[in-house]
Every structure is written in structure tokens, then in C-alpha cells.
Symmetry: D2
Subunit: 296 residues, 4 copies
């Protein structure tokens, strides 16, 4: 076993020879920490496989059925388009992430990953908590129960920030005082705010990571978790560029149309001037289809 402190340092200089597939563009992520929000970060700890590993696994499944000479990129696009997901499970990546607890609570809903999080029963959490940048301090959206609208004005923002900072600070001061007084760590931590930072190792396969990204890169995802997804998306681009390109075309940039949407679309293509009222669709479905067609 290697010392887990010394490993990176030794590694930076020399590295180790391996017969495994390696991805040069991802190796630099192993030594760099990518900042997110005010105190968070994303770091790649390890990875397994590459674009070729996806192709190789697909060729086991479809055997002689995959035409010799077929370009790898085309096969990856075919797999993505037809949701043949198992070859993408053959790649794996492990991140070290520092993130606010309220983000961690959204993130952990994805159950198909492995997690080791700092335990506040064993350890004392650092005095770090998330304070939104002014541009992120937004009002509740009026037309969407879960969304944000435009940022608060400068004065309102200052008031909000003071309040968030004061409460998080006081709660952390008291957390430390409670520990000082001898209270069990597992109890003292209940005084911390949801803005407090935690850390974890998070390991997931490429298929499930793409699913995570498709949900968390979405405009409806909370800004704070989206900030993590965007950095992770960059790591995936570096790691498996062909897979990421297919993902961007078929999942991120695509749209799913229902049977009634397809029926309305056929009428439109036949030259009929279909409106929200004559479409047979609900108001929101109509809006969603128009948005996907760039007509909103």
C-alpha cells in the first residue's frame, strides 16, 4: 500500500506504468482540485475505462453482429440513441467532493453510487458554510413553485447575506462551545445549519453519472448543485469525449415528445396552422413542445 498523502506527490513526478486503458486528458484532474461555489471543490480520485471500453463491452454483447470497421464513435452514438445503457456501466469514476449539506441531501437521492462521507459523529466539522454570491441571491419564482427569479436588489441582498452569515456563524460558534463543554459530537452537530460544508468520496459508473448529469445540468435543477454538475461534466468530456458528445446530442440537447405531441406535430408538418387551443394538448405540454421546437 502506498501512503495516501505521498501518493500524489510521487505520482506527479513519475507516475506508474500500467497496462490498463488510461486517458491522458483526465490524468491532470487527478492532481488538480476544481473549485465550486465559495468553499467547495471537485477532484477526480480515480477512474476505470474510456470510450474504447464502452465499445469493447458492446462488441461482447453484439458480437459478430457489430460490423467490423464500424467507427467507434458511430457505435457509441447508436448505443446512446437506443438507450443500450449497459456498455456505459463498464466505465467507473471516483470523485472527492466538498459541498454544502443541503446540496448533499439532493445529491444522495441518486442511489446507484457508492459514498463515504465525513461523519460528524467521529470528526469535528470545519468552520465553513455556504454564502450565496449576490448574483445567486434570487427571489422566489412567481410562476414556478420550485424555481428562482431574478436576483434581489443590492440592499435586500445585503440584508439577506448578513442574516445567513450571522446565523451560520453563531450556530458554528455554539457547536464549538458545545463540544468544548463535553457534549457528544453526534449531538453537538445538530446545531449546525444546512449551509455547512461536508465532504465525501463518491463513486459511480458512467451510465449512472450521465443520468445524474442530465438531471442536475437541467435548468430546473437548483443552481448550487448545477454548479457541481457543470464541473463534473467537464471531467466527463476530458475522460470519454465521444460518449459525452453523444450524450449532449441525444440527452442534453434532445426532447421527448408524447403521442399527442407527435399527433399535433404531424398536423403542423402537413401544413395545418395548429394552435395551443386546437392542438389537443394541455397548456403546459403545448408550451414545452413549442420550447423544444424553438418557437416560444
Amino acid at each position: 500500500m502506498q501512503d495516501d498523502e505521498g501518493q500524489d506527490k510521487a505520482g506527479v513526478e513519475t507516475g506508474t506504468l500500467t497496462l490498463r486503458p488510461t486517458v491522458a486528458a483526465l490524468e491532470s484532474w487527478l492532481v488538480e482540485t476544481h473549485p465550486v461555489l465559495d468553499h467547495g471543490f471537485v477532484r477526480v480520485i480515480d477512474y476505470m475505462g474510456d470510450d474504447a471500453a464502452v465499445v469493447q463491452a458492446a462488441r461482447v454483447s453484439y458480437g459478430r453482429g457489430t460490423k467490423p470497421g464500424r467507427a467507434d464513435a458511430a457505435l457509441i452514438r447508436y448505443l446512446m440513441r437506443h438507450r443500450h445503457t449497459t456498455p456505459f456501466e463498464m466505465c467507473e469514476i471516483k470523485y472527492h467532493v466538498k459541498l454544502p449539506i443541503f446540496v448533499a441531501r439532493q445529491w444522495i437521492r441518486h442511489r446507484t453510487a457508492s459514498v463515504n462521507e465525513i461523519s460528524a459523529r467521529y470528526s469535528i466539522l470545519d468552520r465553513e458554510f455556504y454564502l450565496p454570491a449576490p448574483s445567486a441571491l434570487a427571489a422566489q419564482a412567481a410562476d414556478n413553485r420550485q424555481g428562482r427569479d431574478r436576483p434581489l436588489g443590492a440592499d435586500d441582498a445585503a440584508v439577506v447575506l448578513d442574516l445567513l452569515r450571522d446565523d451560520a456563524s453563531r450556530c458554528h460558534d455554539h457547536y464549538e462551545a458545545l463540544l468544548e463543554s463535553g457534549l457528544a459530537r453526534e449531538l453537538a452537530r445538530i446545531n449546525l445549519t444546512l449551509s455547512t460544508y461536508t465532504q465525501w468520496y463518491w463513486k459511480i459508473d458512467l451510465h449512472n453519472l450521465l443520468h445524474f448529469l442530465s438531471l442536475r445540468l437541467d435548468a430546473h435543477a437548483q443552481y448550487e448543485i448545477r454548479a457541481y454538475a457543470e464541473v463534473m461534466a467537464e471531467s466527463v468530456k476530458a475522460w470519454v469525449p465521444e460518449t459525452y458528445a453523444a450524450f449532449a446530442d441525444y440527452l442534453l440537447g434532445g426532447a421527448a415528445f408524447s403521442a399527442p405531441m407527435l399527433a399535433a406535430l404531424r398536423r403542423m408538418l402537413a401544413g395545418e396552422a395548429v394552435t395551443a387551443e386546437t392542438s389537443g394538448l394541455g397548456r403546459r405540454e403545448w408550451q414545452e413542445m413549442m420550447a423544444a421546437l424553438g418557437r416560444d
Copy 2:
């Protein structure tokens, strides 16, 4: 579809006829809410299967191989002892639970369940937070990094409680003020403390529930989650009494001995006066074995 408010009330009076297996002792759990901690509760929403469903599934697997006339209870004990876990997956239960966020964070590590939690992006959380009873306000254990020792003295406890109450109250007051000022709900909630209550629906199969209980009924589990596990254990006893009895004998009350422990045990049984020093075991392993043998 039935109205989800009216269902229980109508149900209490009449019920509905079904051909599914039904467990009379669990039906009362469908209308009663069992309190846990200061504001929490456990409620059974629905269930599927019973002890007989475990036996029936096992008989599909082992077919003619299961002796006719073999008592069902004996078969359940055999399955439990040999960790034939799949027949226990054939029963399912769904709970409605109200619990502090720090408990929810431990709980959700069990990934083999389905969860729907109140979202504080959509909803406004109630003004309820956990304050430990004086008997639960314990000092950090000296010999165990994650445990609790004896309760604090009355004076210290009063100071701690005031502090926890004040901080949680103030954070919730400010949460409401932030909402009032128009801040997006998804941001305002980051000001809440980890002691704040949340709620969820949690659905799991019997095998995974027993695994959850074996970890969370353990003396090393944090007291607050253990309080939930104890109530849920009562619901399992009502639901599948034979399975619970086997679980209590083989998992809860049992002990796993390593190869070196077994070697030491053989020497002891052969009459040798084995000590910690001569046992070949590490100090903690020796202590654990002595505890399992009731010799500590």
C-alpha cells in the same frame, strides 16, 4: 382513486375485502401514528405479504426439495440461519416517518429503499426541531470516538438545551423572515439547523428492513435513530412474528466469530486457560469475544 384524506377515515369503519394475504395485527398500525422523540412519528401506510409469503417463495425456489409437512416456522429459521435472503425480499412495507434532518441523513445511507421526502424547494417546513430530553443529553464517550457517555448534569444540560433551542428558534424565525422578504424557498432553507424535522414516505422489502434494523437497533447506533428502529421493530413483530423471532435469535442476539476467535475458543473448550495475551487475538477482538460469551 380514493381521496387520500378520506381513505383512512372510511377505512376505519368498513375496510375493503381483499383476496391478498392480510395480517390482522398490523392493520391497527394503518390507523395509528406511533410517536418517536419529541415531534416525530412512525406510521405504516401499506404492506404486502406475511410470514406465509416468505415460505411460499422459498417453496418455489426449493420446490419439491422442501419436505412436505415441514413446519413453516422451522423453514423460516432455516432460511434466516443460512442467509437465504431472497424469500424475505418478497414482503414489502411502506412507512410514513417524521424525523429530524440529522437522523434522515443517517437513514438515507440505506440505498435499497424508495423514498419520497417533503421538498423544501416546494414547501415551507414547519417550525419543529428536535431538542433532546435531559436523559439523552450525554457527554462524548472517552473510550469510543463516536459514542455517548453518561448524561450531563442538570445544570450543564439546561445550558445546552437553552443554546440548542435558541439557535434553532432564531434560525427558523429568520427562515420565515427570508421567505417573507421574497427569497427563493430553496435558498431560505439553508438557514435551518440539522435538528429541524422533515417527513418522508419510505418503502422497503423485509430483507433490507431487517438489515436496516440490525444496524440501527445496535447499541452503537446513535440513540435518536435507534428510537425509530425500536418502534419499527414492533411493527415487524406484529407483521411477521415468525420471521422476527428468527431474526432476533440469529442476527440480533447472535455473534460472528472469526477464524482466530474460533481457534481460541477451541482451546478454551479443551480446558486451556486462555487469556487475552495468549489468545492470539488483538485486544479489541478479545474483548468482543468475551462480551459475546458473557464473560466481560
Copy 3:
């Protein structure tokens, strides 16, 4: 515990009162066995939840965020359209299925279910094997490596059937002879053909069942597993009619368009005469889009 033979008989006459949600239309499935292929069947053993349980779980998650008075069916459609999948996990169903081994091998790829299969290490398998009906005895598709083309002519079909029947019969005769000679059951069974029938209990939640059905009802699924999916789809219609209707509109009858497809579609809607060549799409993508638009 009830006797697992007597349960259905007793149940047919009386049933038991329960406070759980029940679905009258699915109760009859608990006593009827639905035949599939030549010797197979599908039977519902138990179920948990209904359309209202989906709505109820969603209302926990989105709390006050779900408009009071919003029709349940509209909420179910919203959840399905936006892939809010967790409320659908709150319903569960358990089937007893008899199916050929080659179908079982495809089926088991769905890992999110619980299974108890007859073990041929313990039990002796019945002398039943699948022989396709003449209409199912189809030639290899020329344009599709995994598909079937039209049925064989009557003469060819007769030859094929004789051969399949003879081999399966002889292999089963010898299986019995090997058992007779004292060979271990776990070895004798390796002589059986993949057409041999097996049986299992299969339990899955509604979300994962719909995913299974969306793949196995598809025209590209092998006919024999599709035959099971079609019967199971009927049980889902009986069980959760609103959910099934939304599933049919959004998943079964819908289509996913990629970013390049959407770009081509916009040009078409703008009146341009886009062709396969000018579309910027690969040949197969173009064909798939035309098919979805009813223009092939």
C-alpha cells in the same frame, strides 16, 4: 400463517377485510392464471398501492406545492412527463410466471426486481418445453441482425418444429435417465435445452415494471418475451389505469428526438423541403425520425 395451498380457495369465497388500498379490478387476477405461449402463464400473487398511492407520495414530496384540487390524473401525467419517477416506486406487484429458460435469461437482466426461481439443484423440472406456433417460426431478418422476418413456409416450418421437438424430447428423456442412474440433479440438468420451462416469483415496483414493459413491449423485443409483457400490461391497466394511460401517451407512444433531429424538424416546420441528404442526420436517424412522424 395460512396454508399456501388453501389460501386462494378460502380467499375466493370470503376474502379478508383490510384497511389498505385495494383495487377491485386487480383482485380477479389473484385467482386467475393467464396463459402465455404454449405452456407458460402469468399470475398476480399480491400487490401494494394504486393510482392514489402515487399521488399521495408525490404530495408528500411536493407538499403544499401541489395545487389543492388539482386532478389526480393530471398530476400523474405531470409526473410521467417530467420523469419524476420516485412516486411510482411506491407501488409494488408480485407475479408468479412460468416461462422458457431462454426468456428467463433475457428477463433477469432487469436487476431491480426480487426473484425466487425453481432450483433444478433441488427439484426435478417438468417435461415441458417451448415449441413456437407456426406463425412464430420466422426467418432471420435480412436488414436487422437481431430481428425476425416473415414466417417460414409450411414445409420448412414442419421440419424445424420436428427437429426442435425431437431434440428437446430426447434431452429431457436423457435428463430423466441420468437422474434415474443416480447422477446429481445439479449435473443432470445441464442436458436440458434452453426451451425448457422454468417458474419464478418476480416482485418489482411500478416504476421499474413500466421500464421493463417499455423495453419488452417494443417491436424490437423478441416475440416470446413480448407475449409476457403484453399480458402483464393488461394487469397494470387493471391495477393503475391512470398511470398506465400516462405511460402509454408519454413512453410507449412517444419518441425522443436528438438535438440534430430537432434542428432538422425546425427547418421542416419553417417550410424547407428537408431530405435525408440535407438533414444533417445519419441515414438511420433520419429513418427513425420519419417513422416517428408517420412519414415512412
Copy 4:
């Protein structure tokens, strides 16, 4: 992307530099194919992590709680003894395996792995089927419904082998004839015997792999799957030697005692001459305990 044919050859000579953890002893497994049974094999395709990665993940979880200077091996033993399983999920391995279909059917019950298997809908299976070596051609156990007894006599074995070989050969000949006649591949394959070889890529994390091995290395596992487990166990020893040593001590070589067993054991240690009759245990439980104590 690399050519998936050329990769190994190029790799053998040069390898690639990486900053990831690398295990010299496992690298040779990347180029060697380990034979199993008459035509099968196990090959390691890729791996992620090492013993140090387990330790590193545990130190994230237990943070400052893990004593500095504590030996890594001791921490791994502690994690294994207390079933702290998540750090072991942080390592991953991917195998290429060739195996008979009846073994594949047992294997796939482990649902926590990723699989890509050759599809006989797309590809034509090779003419290879498993024939047991004479030493493996055993009689049905009399005292155990699923086990094997001693090998058949030479004459009986010869008869059995002829029969297995003839049937598998004829079925494969006819499979080829059916393909020749134009029958769809997905139908022709139903004529093959369960002894036919298939291949897959199988990827799993270390925790779940150890669980697989603990079940499949067991004396009650069928000999043929045990043969695979034994080769894979060697790969795990090469990969994570400290973890494997702890696994061997705590899981493979250990024993779980029930509450009634512990009660009997206490009486024995107190000097009482406990017998099967006076133990309060069932006959089989008593035998199992005596076996674990080396007293059978």
C-alpha cells in the same frame, strides 16, 4: 481510443504512465487468461483502487477519528470485522469470463454487478459445451437435496459422458442446421443445451465481489461455479492482499453463532457436558456449531 485488439499487445511491451493507484501483482492478470473447467476462462480487463483506496475512503468517513499512525492493515481488519462495508465499495474490478450457461444462470442472481453478455440474437455461439471431468461426475447426495456425493464408477461415468456429449453435439449440429435453413438466430438458439458456453464482461465493486466469493467459495456451492470463484479469489489476493487476508479470517474462516448457540456455548465453557439433546438446539444447528468448533 485504442484499438481493442491491439491494446494488449502494445500494452505488454510498453504500458502507459498513470497517476492512479496501480497494483503490480495484478497487472499480469491483464494479459493472461486463466483457464477454468474444460473450455472456460477468467481474465481481468481492468481494475480501480487497491488496499490503500479502502483505507483512504475509511479515513474520509471517520476523519480525524482514525488514529494517526494506525496501521492500514489493522484498519482494514477493523472495517471487515465490523461490517463497515462502504470503503470496500470504493474498489472496482472488471472480468471477462467464459462459462457454461447453467453457471451463468446461478451467477447472474448477484444483481449488484454490471454485465455485457454475448447475445445469441446477434451472434452465433461457438460449438463448445461443458463436459464434466470424471472426478466431477458425482452422484446425488443422499443426505442433502442439493449436493453431490462421491464420483460415479468408471463405467457409469462413461455412459453418462457419452450421453451428455451426444446430446449437446446433436443439439449444436441442429442449431447450425436451423441457422443454415434461415431460421432467426433468436429462435435457433433455443435448441442448445444448458451446458453450452457463453461469455460476458462482468464488473463489480470489491464489497460485492467478496460477498459473491463468500457464497460461491462455500462447500455448498455447485462445484462448477466454485471453480470460477477459486480463480477469482486468486486475483483478489493479488489485487488487495490485506483485504483478502481480513476476508479470509472474518468471513471465509469465521462462523456466525445464534443466541441459542451462544447460550449452549456458555454452558460448555462453564464446564457443563452439554449434548445435542440438552443443548436446546435443533439437531442441524447443533451439528453446525460442533462443525464450527472442530468437534464433529
